[in-house]
């Protein structure tokens, strides 16, 4: 029997529909759980925090949502080893909740996905994410090949990883940088980074490997019609590149 995946909806979340659709297309038993039904969360086996602007990004992106009652259950679940995956604003929430990188106390953030550089503009651009750790580093990554490339859309005004020098060193040495921005051929250099993220980081994973925070949106490249090289006459709803990661995630949940 499939394990149940909760896709959390905070006030201001806006990517829940495409997230739940792609999870289902990849075999996941995914359900939306709204903020007023947080008490249902312990009955789920994994949690996905989609993108958007939870609580209008009041104070900071993810700050209020990180203290929402729903996150009490997510934190409890993460401590028990449940898989937790955050996309974009969901990733920001996980950092504000201290679950990722998890180098400090819960709800005492040690890093942030913050205002883009070099100019603090919103970006909406196609990107490639290169797996930067061994696939065995996290159950969510085990369905990927070493150095896998995942297509996604970077769609954020605040996606630049920022932290102190000491923290960045800890992230690098601790293997917390799960994905880096790359070119389509897999090469990595500064020109592939759309927002000046430190370490070229597109996604962070916690020490235990069960919580992953990813800034770009693979779910928005989950169908052929989402691809930048969309061909005429494409059938819709045919899983494509971005679904590779979602399949790996669902396999890990159901394992």
């Amino acid at each position: 029997m499939s394990k149940r995946i909760a896709v959390l909806v905070f006030p201001g979340t806006n990517s829940e529909e495409e997230t739940v659709r792609l999870l289902r297309a990849c075999g996941g038993d995914a359900h939306l759980v709204h903020w007023s039904h947080g008490k249902l969360l312990p009955g789920f086996d994994a949690y996905v925090l989609p993108g958007g602007f939870a609580y209008e990004d009041r104070i900071r992106a993810g700050a209020i949502a990180a203290h929402d009652e729903m996150m009490d259950y997510v934190i409890e679940g993460a401590r028990a080893g449940k898989l937790v995956y955050g996309i974009c604003n969901g990733a920001q929430i996980l950092l504000e909740a201290g679950l990722v990188p998890g180098t400090g106390e819960v709800r005492r953030p040690t890093a942030a996905f913050t205002r883009n550089g070099p100019v603090p503009h919103f970006i909406n651009t196609h990107v490639w994410l290169k797996l930067a750790v061994d696939p065995q580093r996290s159950p969510m990554l085990r369905g990927l090949e070493r150095d896998a490339l995942i297509p996604a859309w970077a769609s954020h005004g605040e996606g630049r990883l920022a932290a102190s020098e000491a923290e960045l060193r800890a992230l690098r040495e601790g293997g917390h940088v799960a994905f880096v921005y790359a070119h389509a051929d897999g090469s990595v250099d500064d020109t592939a980074i759309p927002n000046q993220a430190a370490l070229g980081c597109a996604a962070l994973v916690n020490r235990e490997g069960n919580v992953l925070a990813m800034m770009p949106h693979p779910e928005r490249d989950g169908w052929t019609f989402n691809h930048p090289d969309r061909r005429r006459g494409n059938a819709i709803l045919e899983p494509s590149g971005g679904a590779v990661f979602f399949r790996s995630f669902v396999q890990a949940v159901n394992a």
Binding site: I59, R60, R107, A112, A162
Partner: protein
């Protein structure tokens, strides 16, 4: 050039301040009211007398339909207030912006420094990207 300071606050209901209040209360902090403001510190070559009027004419910073502006005497938070500075921000030359958070208890008494510090550490300041300045 003279450094001048002002606080711009909403005169319509501040939903962000209210959400912050309820979150601080959920954290167990004894706060009954939260006031949020944008603090601008500018290098000004004009007269002090019309500083407020000149700032109010800047439509990027001030909307008379929803804002009120107060000129500050000192470049420091007021009683019960902290200023949050975004570190590494690309502030335009000649001006600096903070977010001011003023916390009051049930009797309207300004929060002391210990309470401000706790509110900053638990919610209002992410030390990876921000710095808190206290009264």
């Amino acid at each position: 050039m003279t450094q001048r300071m002002c606080a711009i606050t909403l005169k319509i209901p501040d939903n962000a301040a209210y959400t912050t209040l309820t979150t601080l209360q959920r954290l167990g902090l004894p706060v009954a009211r939260v006031e949020r403001s944008e603090i601008w510190v500018v290098d000004d070559a004009g007269d002090a007398d019309d500083f407020a009027a000149r700032m109010e004419r800047n439509e990027t910073l001030f909307n008379p339909n929803k804002h009120r502006l107060a000129v500050l005497d000192a470049n420091a938070p007021r009683a019960g207030e902290m200023w949050i500075e975004e570190t590494g921000a690309h502030a335009p030359h000649g001006r600096r912006r903070y977010v001011g958070w003023r916390l009051l208890d049930r009797d309207g008494k300004p929060a002391d420094r210990a309470l401000l510090r706790e509110a900053a550490e638990r919610l209002l300041c992410n030390p990876a990207i921000e710095k808190a300045h206290y009264a």
